[in-house]
Symmetry: C2
Subunit: 234 residues, 2 copies
């Protein structure tokens, strides 16, 4: 893997905006760009609010190590009002988490130690062409779901190229986006339980592939949709 788990880096940037004294509203979208692999050590975060409307906040985010810019990002926070709502995505038919075997940690993916992942279909170990992953996932140790853990969980999938080729290779996320479809009350109601994650890829082309995902509650509420573009080495 090129650099540490991107999900926790994205979460760290989002947290800088969440904790900012001028923050109003809740996360609506987040995009994080991984310019350079982070190294173990201290880092400096900056969350700037160049544009602040009555209902939306547009944030610039950056992370530096030794004054060098390593990660850039943008986030939008919004104050929602209740409106007509509808879910067009379809919650798949899946067995309950308790009946699915826990996925064992892989040396190359250290972040798996921080999750309880149970892959229903679409695993590196599977002897099929299935590239669409269905998995149950929750933090390990468990903690209540919030915008921070939801962000990291949106990146907690086996990289699609591992599943496609049934082997590991050197990869690194270049850009990662999350759209949030839930508010704090909805997350609080979910508590510490697992969520269902879906992930797929549409195209692998000359060193990069895309990855698309959905995060659902077991009751079929779509919490977040996510995408990323990832570098891979053959």
């Amino acid at each position: 893997m090129i650099g540490p788990f991107g999900g926790i880096i994205a979460t760290t940037l989002l947290r800088a905006a969440m904790k900012h004294p001028e923050r109003r509203g809740e996360p609506l979208s987040l995009t994080v760009n991984y310019a350079t692999p982070l190294t173990d050590g201290t880092f400096e975060l900056k969350a700037q609010l160049p544009r602040n409307n009555c209902s939306k906040q547009h944030w610039w985010l950056e992370l530096r190590q030794n004054s060098e810019l390593m990660i850039t990002g943008t986030a939008v926070f919004a104050t929602r009002s209740e409106t007509w709502s509808s879910t067009d995505a379809v919650f798949p038919s899946v067995p309950p988490a308790s009946t699915v075997e826990k996925f064992l940690p892989m040396d190359i993916l250290a972040w798996l130690n921080s999750y309880d992942v149970r892959i229903i279909q679409g695993s590196i170990l599977e002897n099929t062409d299935e590239l669409l992953t269905h998995q149950w996932v929750r933090d390990e140790p468990s903690r209540p779901l919030d915008f921070l853990s939801l962000t990291a969980i949106s990146d907690a999938f086996l990289p699609r190229i591992f599943v496609k080729r049934k082997r590991t290779s050197s990869i690194g996320t270049v850009s990662f986006t999350v759209y949030y479809h839930v508010d704090e009350n909805g997350l609080a109601a979910h508590g510490e339980r697992e969520v269902l994650g879906l992930a797929l890829a549409l195209r692998f082309y000359n060193g990069f592939f895309d990855q698309w995902g959905e995060i659902w509650t077991p009751e079929g509420q779509l919490l977040a949709t996510t995408s990323q573009i990832v570098y891979f080495k053959e």
Copy 2:
């Protein structure tokens, strides 16, 4: 509509990076955040290159009017090498563009005048629940496809909420992302012909919905994948 066509704004930001003397490589990803509706008049663009690796460039993009920040964005450019490649998305079975009726301009969507759009399924006019749009689209007047026109075409769909509710309403894109899966030679080979666009939405929730799309050549080459999150008023 809240503000002018987001596709041309995104393209204008991308163009600032494309034309920058330090630009190397080709677009890999672009995210544009629409903080405030633009007004007719002059604007100032800034493309900054805070991080420049050997194979990737990370850009900050911004657009101001009267010194006020209106639009923010980030882009990644990459120099690709030939590798194993594969397309997992499936090109749908569709009739040729010449046999599909041209979609007529709508007052509310002025940008339709700059495109030849032929909607195969998933239209505001259709009396079905089909929310997945298949459409042929090309610039009008026609021009060779390049990264700029591909970016704008990635936004050239009827907003999903129009198709869902079979009526127009006030909407505005908040954040828009494009991943590019093609290089300049591939675009040059396509020329001025139409592309096939697919678009769907996964969730409409309390004032915002997401939109996901794919742009294909008629031969079944996936050129770009795209997402956006959009504000709507009831």
